[in-house]
Symmetry: C2
Subunit: 136 residues, 2 copies
DNA sequence: TTTAATGTAACAATTTTTGTTACATTAAAA
DNA sequence: TTTTAATGTAACAAAAATTGTTACATTAAA
């Protein structure tokens, strides 16, 4: 992950959690993060598919949290934005004539999964509510 | 991490560990990974700085492990290639006029460090020797 | 009917990653 | 002493990933 998607998604959810019951629009959210509103809408769309937020169109449109911030754990956010593994990518075509090259990607699969799982587990222990409570 | 550097570095070290006492050259290693020899030399240079390999120039030049594969843990490799945090990047300039935007990067610092630390810890429990032993 | 929002496609710009060429330096071997 | 075969590294090119932007159809309240 060499991008800002987790930071952006968590920022969005933090704003929504900090003002529950209000429909925040993408322009307002974008101004807080300092990115383009389209970036926010794109991420909101994915967070919506994951059941973390509700969005509505039309005048007075915007977004709210879909569930209580205490029930949202950070692994759910991570899974929405994750598009690579913690240890990165495998090399595409290691040499099949080399005993190591022949099977290294299978060994890396195991290792990469193990590490990813431990990150997920750690994130699962942290709630959005707790994260938000750190702001004072 | 959305790159192949960890996979490449571990591949290199696996080859060296699998034929200790031999000086493998970058062209040979590169053929196993299927990348350009310069990529291998670049990574070997960094692995050398970290004390994981020895390299020598001249005819009969090449690389060997600098220490026993049982004493090399995977966190050492990760630290050599790591150039981003597990949860990615922060947004560059969140709005200082927003209570959330004002301090979110400090909160993210804490979270990102915690997650990175847990990955390091997990990798520290795994040795190169053990990884190599999985090939059969 | 007007206004103000989302949803999303299409594309542009930027940054990161990977690949390549070139060559100075080193050290063994002929 | 010259040739050979390697590393080390700079400089640049190419490809891929990331981020930003414009445009506009759709929706729903006012």
């Amino acid at each position: 992950m060499n991008n800002t998607r987790f930071a952006t998604a968590l920022h969005i959810l933090t704003l929504l959690a900090a003002s529950e019951e209000e429909w925040l629009n993408s322009e307002w959210i974008a101004a807080s993060i300092n990115v383009n509103p389209v970036v926010v809408r794109r991420e909101l769309s994915l967070l919506g598919e994951a059941g973390l937020v509700n969005t509505r169109k039309g005048k007075t449109g915007g977004a709210t949290l879909a569930r209580n911030s205490a029930s949202i754990t950070l692994d759910a956010i991570y899974l929405v934005v994750k598009n690579s593994e913690v240890l990165g990518k495998r090399n595409v075509k290691p040499n099949p004539n080399c005993p190591i090259g022949k099977t290294i990607n299978q060994q890396l699969d195991n290792l990469f999964s193990t590490i990813d799982d431990s990150v997920i587990k750690e994130l699962k222990s942290k709630t959005l509510k707790n994260f938000v409570s750190e702001f004072h």
